[in-house]
Symmetry: C2
Subunit: 262 residues, 2 copies
DNA sequence: AGAAGGACCAGTGGTCCGTA
DNA sequence: AGAAGGACCAGTGGTCCGTA
């Protein structure tokens, strides 16, 4: 029950941060412990956004065990008026199994976040089914909100979307993914460079499947819950059309979309 | 090519309204002709809403035949400054095969609109695939927009959503659907009463399938492209839970959600 | 400089309610 | 009164850019 509860809070203190049961549920059950927690807080948030309002009418129709579920948490707003949660430590390129040292997080931890999100989605789906509400099939805003309420404040949409294609490569060809991690670690590359490098083997893989990136995502159970990133979709389409049209945000690839290395 | 192009424009004039090729494509190919067109125009619209802007970047990546597709139409705004399209004639309860007379539309026509939407969705999907964009699986706002641009100005979201469950019953058990139409026509009931009556047999049907209304919709090809109406979902859940919680908008059913007639 | 994520924005699902 | 649908609204997908 309490084994790796502290995954999210191991190095770096902030132990007064309430640890939610929901995080335990979202933990996959492995044994690893990563260093995750950011530098000590010093900022005081002000807005506190009490929006979210408008409880759905007729919410009383479910009975028994499920009547709160979405209401967990509500804490992380200035408990003692002091420690406000800070940014996560930045990622560094680590090899499989390697724990990042210092104020850094490793890539095993990054991929672990995707699995936590899957578990949070599963919780949201269960709640929705109990209540007879529309049931999401993807990691939506609602899931991110649920994760946050459940205390997993280190999970957020921009981060997860940013690295989806890296996780995709990890799912679809772990050997290649691992090889790239090792090579980029050796070369001392930063996370951004590693992230960019994950596109190429994914594209090669997609090419072997008729460039059907949606099909590739939806066929893999761990991947099917993630939206296909726009950039990846565009790269696949550009490759398929053999046109060197590359969106601005991957312009470091520009001119190399046809057959050369990139 | 030109056989039932005028389905949408048969009785009621307004022949100066441009008939779009896209409508032809969206016609299912049957032979029936309904009376659809509203009373002659007299209102002048003012806003004209030229929004929609922001063409997606890198739109040039598709080649050949598809480069406009979303741009069709653009006409129906005060062509000669005169006839502005008016409301559709209201629906009346008709038996299968019966043509509504006077300034009315019949239920075969209503169901035909659902099939036109399916065809418009299919067109939107083809365009999206050609362009390598995200491909909708349901009748979304984008599809309604496409339908409107293609000249099918009589299709709109509130109307289609309003009668989805009636179409569902028509798809899932045409015999029962037809029987209700005949009976309600005989009794001289209005469309609202007929619409309400469509819930009950649908619920009975859902009960036989474990109240899995999402599963029922997604298993039927013509139905899977429609969102399950919120009211129907709530009714199924209430029945499943044997609780008499009925949303306000179907309160004419109130007190009858457990076992009695309704 | 490289990176994390709050917060914004255009377009969505949903449907109310002013209209005819 | 009964009904059609413009138009609004809360919450979405997507990601920029002020922040650290």
């Amino acid at each position: 029950n309490t084994n790796n509860v502290l995954d999210a809070l191991s190095q770096g203190g902030l132990s007064e941060e309430p640890v939610q049961q929901q995080i335990e549920a979202a933990e996959s059950g492995g044994g690893a412990t990563w260093n995750i927690v950011p530098s000590a807080g010093k900022k005081i948030k002000k807005s506190k956004k009490k929006v979210q309002g408008r409880r759905k009418s007729a919410a009383s129709c479910s009975r028994g065990t499920d009547n709160d579920d979405d209401e967990v948490g509500d804490d992380q707003s200035g408990q003692g008026g002091r420690a406000e949660r800070q940014r996560e430590h930045p990622f560094i390129v680590t090899e499989p199994g390697e724990i990042a040292r210092g104020k850094k997080n490793g890539l095993d931890y990054l991929f672990h976040l995707y699995e936590q999100c899957a578990e949070f989605l599963s919780q949201v789906q269960n709640i929705a089914k109990e209540r007879g509400e529309k049931c999401p099939t993807k990691v939506t805003n609602q899931v991110f909100r649920h994760a946050k309420k459940a205390g997993a404040t280190y999970i957020n949409k921009p981060k997860m979307r940013h690295y989806v294609h890296c996780y995709a490569l990890h799912c679809l060809d772990e050997d290649i993914s691992n090889a790239i991690r090792k090579s980029f670690k050796e070369r001392g590359e930063n996370v951004g460079a590693w992230r960019q490098a994950c596109f190429e083997p994914l594209l090669a893989l997609a090419g072997r499947q008729g460039w059907d990136i949606d099909g590739i995502f939806s066929s893999h159970p761990g991947l099917s819950i993630w939206y296909v990133p726009t950039v990846l979709r565009k790269l696949c389409h550009a490759q398929c059309s053999n046109l060197a049209v590359v969106p601005k945000s991957v312009s470091s690839f520009a001119g190399a979309t046809t057959s050369h290395s990139y």
